[in-house]
Symmetry: C2
Amino acid sequence: MTGSGPGRRGRATIEDVARLAGVSRQTVSRAVNDMAEITPSTKQRVLEAVRTLGYRPSRFARGLVKQDTTTVGLIISDLVNPFFPEVAAGVLAAAENRGWHVVVCDTQYRLDKELSALEVLAHQADAIVGYLGSPDEVLERHAAGVPLVLLERSSQSPRLGSVGIDVEAGVRAGMRHLVSSGHTRIGMLDGAPYPAQSAQNDRRLHFLTVAEEFGLPVDQHWVHVCDQSVLGGFTAMDELLTEHPDTTAVFAFNDLIAVGAVQAARRRGRGVPEDCAVLGFDGLQLGELIDPPLTTLHIDKRRLGELAVEQVALILADRAPSPAQRPVVRPQLVVRRSA
Amino acid sequence: MTGSGPGRRGRATIEDVARLAGVSRQTVSRAVNDMAEITPSTKQRVLEAVRTLGYRPSRFARGLVKQDTTTVGLIISDLVNPFFPEVAAGVLAAAENRGWHVVVCDTQYRLDKELSALEVLAHQADAIVGYLGSPDEVLERHAAGVPLVLLERSSQSPRLGSVGIDVEAGVRAGMRHLVSSGHTRIGMLDGAPYPAQSAQNDRRLHFLTVAEEFGLPVDQHWVHVCDQSVLGGFTAMDELLTEHPDTTAVFAFNDLIAVGAVQAARRRGRGVPEDCAVLGFDGLQLGELIDPPLTTLHIDKRRLGELAVEQVALILADRAPSPAQRPVVRPQLVVRRSA
DNA sequence: TTGTAGGCGTTATCAC
DNA sequence: GTGATAACGCCTACAA
């Protein structure tokens, strides 16, 4: 009823400060946002009141009246896979350039977490970019009208932006390299966990296509699915070599898996690359450090994140990005010693 | 003057929806937040209006009236150093548990970026946790009253929370291991870039102390400072071996540096660990994968992040955490083959 | 230089 | 079940 005092309802408001300093709210505002039209002495007095009351402006009230703060939500699959932090770094950098905030969610590759993250961010952000596995229509429903930019996934819906990797070119370059090195019995270690989402995983598709083009004696049985981790790669490689002992080369979904594959091969007494070549897909720093250094298709992950933010900017400016001009990063074959 | 139409000032408001559906704002609110007291048919009509107008509630207006959403800001030094994503993962997980949002900033170890991040987050978050290098009073000033939890750094100020690593115990365990393996001429590769902040870098201090306790013939000249990266470690190790060719073991600030040190040693034709042992400090997965596998002081990085969020919760609940009960994670010596 | 009035978009409270 | 009305905390006019 008194309606005053900082302790009343949590934090002090601009009103409380005004009262304590014996000025109007407006004057407090001028002092806090240090604007020009205010006497130094008054300013001092106000700022002192601010300090004793522990006053901090409400970001909500401020955001309500100045419509400028932009927040983009970032959804990634696994912060501990070194691939994603690099993408995130690109997103952060690009966002910071524009004065935008970024709130991050990690799905652990789980569709339920993905959807709840989507819902949370739909309330909290002005746009969302991320690695998403659910079908288009599910995504659109959960995003509830918030612009969405898909990473490494194309979509039919014109309402969804997207930024991609030129997987086909990458796979072609990689396979060409392996084949020209004399390999024909090439296996693939495909990353889970979105096997049902064909859109999600072009790597396997292109692998099979290109293998057929080259007339290789491999089919889908040469593709083993595994977790996107070193352990996953290790396990799957072990299975692959059991089922197809004549394998001489392996195409991995990503570098983590490739590293696991190298270990598995060696554990079985196969030299890499002499007995079995291993090809990665990512270009993580990790690949340079192991023995033998990993041959891989290097992706500019930072750039990927930056491009996503640019897409967001386009969409937010009502310039709906046409699917035709979908930005794409092209993998570069980096030949080291594993293949 | 007309004051209506969704196109007026960007987004449609609840008012626009109400008008189109021929109901009051309140009814729209009921429909959107699906509350109980509303006729299905009305709800349908409202929801349709929502869809055609592309209406989305303003998070600011909502946050203003419901005081519940909590956002914590996370400031880390370098997303690309695998150490930080693990800490971040802990923060994200703990925050999600409480229904909090996390906005992330990356400073690249730069003090200017650190301060601007602090200022931004002071407006945007209800609390901040992070790796910070500026002096206490600077931090407090820039945080502008927002609760702050320091990572891996103790502070004198009772107003700053903190979560740490028991560096002393870690260094002791590591040095004991090296000494008991017969090493006496032990160098150290210290991580930049906060040399002036003694609070920031207990590792060097404890290293020197413990070295003296053991009566080792090493002093500050055996400490070389470098970037917290593989390259940094490589370079510094090279310098160290040049100045002190009789070095038989090296204590690294972190695993990335240690990996670089291993490479530098080998490049010089020194076997690891036979000619020169290398000890890391982090416990990154990377360490298991290189050759030889890295002996290191393993830190539970996720836990560190979780503890930080718990500190935030305490502070936000006005239960100021006493410095006495500062949470600390204790490094565990993991002996592999590099030392 | 300072104060007053109004509105930003939403939810809560209370009538109807 | 539905609709006025009053906050929520701040800022941008404009008036004094």
